[in-house]
């Protein structure tokens, strides 16, 4: 099952990237208290997803991610400045989280086919958590947008 292991690697890797990026945004916008605390909490969720997946990765064996290389989204190296910068950072996180979410969808489909209830549960739970991350990002983007676009200095 070379492609399944590839996708397991992709899930692990993209959750790691998302977690790191969430932390970078948290630190970069530490003065925006809700962004700071929520992004850190969401980073912990991504980390928890990786930990839940670890035993399955062990079971199926790891694969070097070759083919879906181009799916890799680059993480955020650092945060941007100001209200417009925050908006852009949240959008980047949304792109990353979308990749994570579709990755879990793919894995859940594979788990169905394999009749692997453990992997199915892990991927469904992880996918649900990613949806919650996306919901918060969308909500926060909507809140930030008008002020950032129209009046921010």
């Amino acid at each position: 099952m070379p492609h399944l292991t590839t996708y397991l690697g992709l899930a692990d890797h993209s959750e790691k990237t998302l977690a790191e990026s969430l932390r970078a945004v948290a630190d970069g916008h530490a003065r925006v208290a809700d962004v700071f605390h929520t992004c850190r909490m969401l980073a912990d969720w991504s980390q928890a997803n990786r930990e839940a997946l670890a035993p399955v990765v062990e079971r199926y064996g790891e694969a070097d991610v070759e083919e879906p290389e181009r799916l890799h989204a680059a993480g955020l190296a650092g945060a941007r400045e100001g209200e417009v910068g925050l908006l852009r950072d949240l959008q980047d996180l949304h792109v990353l989280a979308t990749l994570v979410q579709t990755t879990w969808t793919v894995i859940a489909q594979g788990a169905q086919g394999l009749r692997d209830p453990e992997l199915l549960e892990i991927s469904q739970h992880a996918g649900a958590q990613t949806s919650r991350q996306l919901t918060w990002l969308t909500t926060r983007i909507k809140v930030a947008a008008p002020q950032a676009l129209i009046v921010a200095p």
Partner: protein, 854 residues
């Protein structure tokens, strides 16, 4: 009108020493007896009073009905209204001693002030309003309406909130409106919306007379609503009393009553409320105390809730919260085995970590047991400030008027039609901007005009040093309207003198949905104007018009404003259509909804177990309790709630700031019974000021001992954000916890700023608190910060903390003679009279079941 007659030698009491007055105990299911409390200024005889003017107390959310005594054009005292359903004639120390004194204080603002360089100078109204309008128009031109922010209070009248809401939403079109209500009551509203689909207090005070158990969650009621606590004491000291369960990290009077009635005192570590709630919820499931049929018929989400709380065994909870596992079991058993439980919730939950989730968990307990909507089984999510409820209803806090859903296009259109403006004008593209965010925008200058009415954020908001910098900076033009030159007003660019309570007419609604009319008793001083008149003057000067080219605000008087408000509540849960000034001039306040179906008002909501959750009717589609992410309309519709309540759970997470080696203690803030907010009014009453003249900090005997601190020593309390230096009370907090009252800024009654107390510039409790808020309600977490306490120098007597309530000295500490606290006393004489016959209280369920209710 006089329902009672004075008996010879009415009881005279010092209500500073005796906060609750004498008991009038009564049995379960009977009407709470009436007792009329009265206080007149020294030297004023009752016979000499010229008139008594109908009103209700404005010093806490209880809203006790009272009459104002007027003599020679001045307010000289108050008397409780025996016929009012809220208080049955009683008043507490704040109401008695604090209602009227401030009005004739010689430092009232009487003329507008404008900033000239670093000074505020007196001017006339035209000049002051001219400056505001000039700035307002320039900003609109340059940046549009998002450059305007409004920060109101929990003390304006509903006519004023509604008028401002229309100005902000339909005149300017800004989403940046919030109030001090965000700090005191936002979680109450948010929790209702999440569970029941809309704001609205389900329970009633009459539930006190019928319950078998009372749960007070983070609610130090004796300190915050003393008359309501007196009502409870009259049950716990009467026949067939309820058991009390107290959830509070301090050993408050509630905790003592819990011990006395065979209930439980649970003292969870600060910041761990949700873990405790999840433990209690789990006990209901595992012991079969869930009313499964009721839950199936009237709720959704029970399976998710069960699995969320599954890991929270009493032992697990005990470890997180630092409570005894058996106490958790005992408390849950009381909840699970009582026929009627009344729960009340306040700041210990609202201003703490995971505020909305913990408050929603209280609803869950009631829903699981089917205990809502009948006498004795209910929930009272309390409010802090007296008119906070109206801010929520009228939408000056950012919500849409009438509990409408900003995410529901047809709700927004109803308002746009009522106001005759384009629907695009009304900001509804995102959740309203909350207070902390408004101040952040003001910090960067993104909001260039911030208008603050009747509140004092320089003292009351977290990280107060930052707030003062924002208000004092050049990046934002600040308008303040208030009674006095508060710490906030000192920093403003324009200060407008406002008329206060008794100097203007208007209505407000207490925490129990009871609407009162407060009549104008006296003229305001100098050129002071009512907040309503100020808002109207601004609207006139700005020339706001509707689509027909008529003035946007079509009313002039408070009564016209009230009628306009009542009209937009039609068909909504908060229905005022059956109310009018004429109707409110009767013997008692009236609880909404009042309409054709309920012409005399409504004692409790949800008697039919139908909740306002229908997708087209609800005030919100809901939120993720952990993140605050919003549920979409489509997702909500898919759940088909159709009148069923939501059971929503969340897992406990540790607070944002945990104790460390450097800051090993947990810091929490709160109130004393003798003061309201930042003492603007209560500090100007000698009786109240002397009862609690200066700040203090409470430590447990063990923590004090470890640090070499004795009662009355000067100590320094430090958090990562700031420090205060005040005197120490060796008191009733649990080990590891530190409590400080938040009322004390640098203003000092009867003296120059920074005057008579050595700590006046170093005692502001909010210097230490964090800028962090609940993800759903956006209420700041005043009660979870880490701190350290160190001794600075010896004191020369006991600390100034009152001995009468939760700040009482520890019974476990051996106080040296020179530091032994002196009993708090010294209030002027007040009279208490029991009427010959109990008045008739409309809607009181005890009337159905008891003889002699009338």
């Amino acid at each position: 009108m006089q329902f009672y007659h004075r008996t010879e030698g009415a009881l005279m009491t010092d209500r500073i020493a005796d906060i609750f007055g004498t008991r009038t105990p009564h049995a379960k299911g009977t009407v709470w007896p009436a007792r009329v409390d009265q206080h007149l200024d020294p030297g004023v005889e009752e016979e000499a009073v010229d008139s008594w003017v109908q009103s209700a107390c404005l010093l806490c959310s209880n809203g006790c009905g009272l009459d104002i005594a007027v003599k020679d054009g001045r307010m000289v005292g108050v008397r409780g209204r025996a016929t009012d359903v809220v208080n049955h004639g009683r008043l507490g120390p704040k109401g008695l001693y604090g209602s009227t004194r401030w009005a004739s204080a010689d430092d009232r603002l009487t003329r507008p002030l404008v900033r000239e360089g670093d000074r505020l100078v007196e001017t006339d109204w035209d000049t002051a309003m001219g400056r505001i309008v000039e700035r307002s128009k320039a900003l609109l031109e340059e940046k549009g309406p998002l450059s305007h922010g409004f920060y109101t209070s929990g003390q304006l009248f509903l006519e004023e909130y509604y008028t401002l809401a229309v100005i902000g939403k339909a005149g300017l079109g800004t989403p940046h409106m919030d109030g001090n209500t965000r700090l005191c009551t936002a979680t109450s509203a948010a929790a209702f919306k999440e569970s029941f689909g809309a704001d609205g207090q389900p329970g009633s005070y009459t539930d006190i007379e019928h319950c078998d158990a009372l749960f007070l969650f983070g609610h130090n009621m004796p300190e915050t609503q003393s008359v309501l606590w007196a009502r409870i004491l009259d049950r716990t000291r009467g026949d067939d009393p309820p058991r009390v369960v107290c959830v509070d990290p301090r050993r408050t009077l509630v905790a003592l009553e819990a011990e006395r009635t065979g209930g439980v005192h649970l003292a969870p570590r600060v910041g761990t409320n949700l873990a405790l709630m999840n433990g209690l919820t789990r006990e209901l499931f595992v012991n079969g105390w869930v009313d499964q049929d009721w839950v199936d018929a009237h709720t959704i989400g029970v399976d998710d809730l069960r699995s969320t709380v599954e890991p929270c065994t009493p032992e697990h909870v005990a470890e997180i919260c630092g409570v005894d596992a058996d106490d958790v079991r005992r408390a849950a058993r009381i909840f699970g085995e009582s026929d009627g439980v009344l729960s009340t919730v306040l700041q210990g939950f609202y201003q703490s970590h995971q505020a909305t989730a913990a408050s929603v968990a209280v609803h869950n307990l009631h829903l699981l047991r089917g205990m809502i909507g009948r006498p004795g089984a209910g929930v009272l999510q309390m409010n802090g400030q007296p008119t906070a409820q109206n801010n929520r209803e009228c939408g000056a806090d950012g919500d849409l008027p009438g509990f409408r859903n900003w995410d529901n296009e047809s709700h927004v259109k109803e308002l746009a039609d009522a106001w005759d403006v384009d629907v695009m004008t009304v900001p509804h593209w995102a959740p309203p901007t909350h207070a902390m965010q408004i101040f952040s925008y003001a910090e960067t200058g993104s909001i260039g005009l911030l208008w603050i009415s009747a509140t004092n954020p320089a003292v009351s908001m977290p990280e107060s040093a930052r707030i003062r910098k924002i208000l004092g900076g050049d990046q934002c033009f600040v308008v303040v309207q208030d009674l006095f030159l508060t710490e906030t007003a000192e920093l403003a660019d324009v200060v407008l003198p406002a008329a206060g309570w008794g100097e203007k007419a208007g209505c407000y609604t207490n925490v129990n949905r009871t609407v009162h009319l407060s009549e104008k008793a006296v003229e305001p001083p100098g050129e002071a104007r009512s907040d309503l008149d100020i808002f109207l003057a601004y609207a006139d000067a700005m020339g706001f018009t509707n689509r027909s080219g008529e003035p946007l605000i079509g009313w002039r008087s408070p009564e016209e404003a009230f009628d306009a408000w009542a009209a937009v509540t039609a068909g909504r849960p908060v229905d005022y259509t059956g109310l009018s000034y004429a109707k409110l001039r009767g013997p008692t306040g009236i609880p909404w909804p009042v309409n054709d179906e309920h012409p005399d008002g409504t004692d409790r909501l949800y008697a039919d177990a139908v909740f306002p959750t229908d997708t087209d009717y609800c005030e919100t589609y809901g939120h993720d309790l952990a993140t605050g992410g919003t549920v979409t309309e489509t997702e909500h519709r898919a759940m088909a709630p159709a009148g069923r309540a939501f059971l929503k759970g969340a897992a406990y997470t540790p607070p944002h700031e945990e104790p460390s080696a450097e800051f090993p203690l947990r810091y929490t803030t709160g109130r004393t019974v003798y003061h309201f907010h930042t003492r603007t009014k209560t500090g100007r009453s000698r009786d109240l000021d002397q009862a609690a003249p200066d700040a203090w900090v409470e430590l447990s005997p063990a923590d004090a001992h470890e640090r070499g601190i004795e009662e009355g020593d000067w100590v320094r309390v430090t958090s990562p954000r700031g420090a205060i230096e005040v005197r120490a009370r060796v008191g009733n907090v649990m080990d590891g916890a530190v409590f400080a009252p938040f009322h004390y800024g640098h203003w000092e009654p009867g003296s120059a700023p920074g005057g008579s107390h050595a700590d006046a510039d170093r005692r502001l409790a909010n210097e230490l608190t964090m800028t962090v808020w609940d993800p759903v309600s956006k209420q700041p977490a005043f009660k979870t910060a880490a701190c350290q306490v160190t001794r600075v120098r010896a004191g020369d007597g006991p600390s100034p903390a009152p001995t009468t309530a939760a700040s009482a000295p520890s019974p476990d500490h051996d106080f040296p003679l020179s530091r032994r606290p002196r009993a708090t006393a010294g209030g002027g004489p007040t009279s208490s009279t029991e009427p010959a016959a109990t008045p008739h209280y409309p809607l009181d369920p005890a009337l159905d079941s008891s003889e002699g209710g009338r």
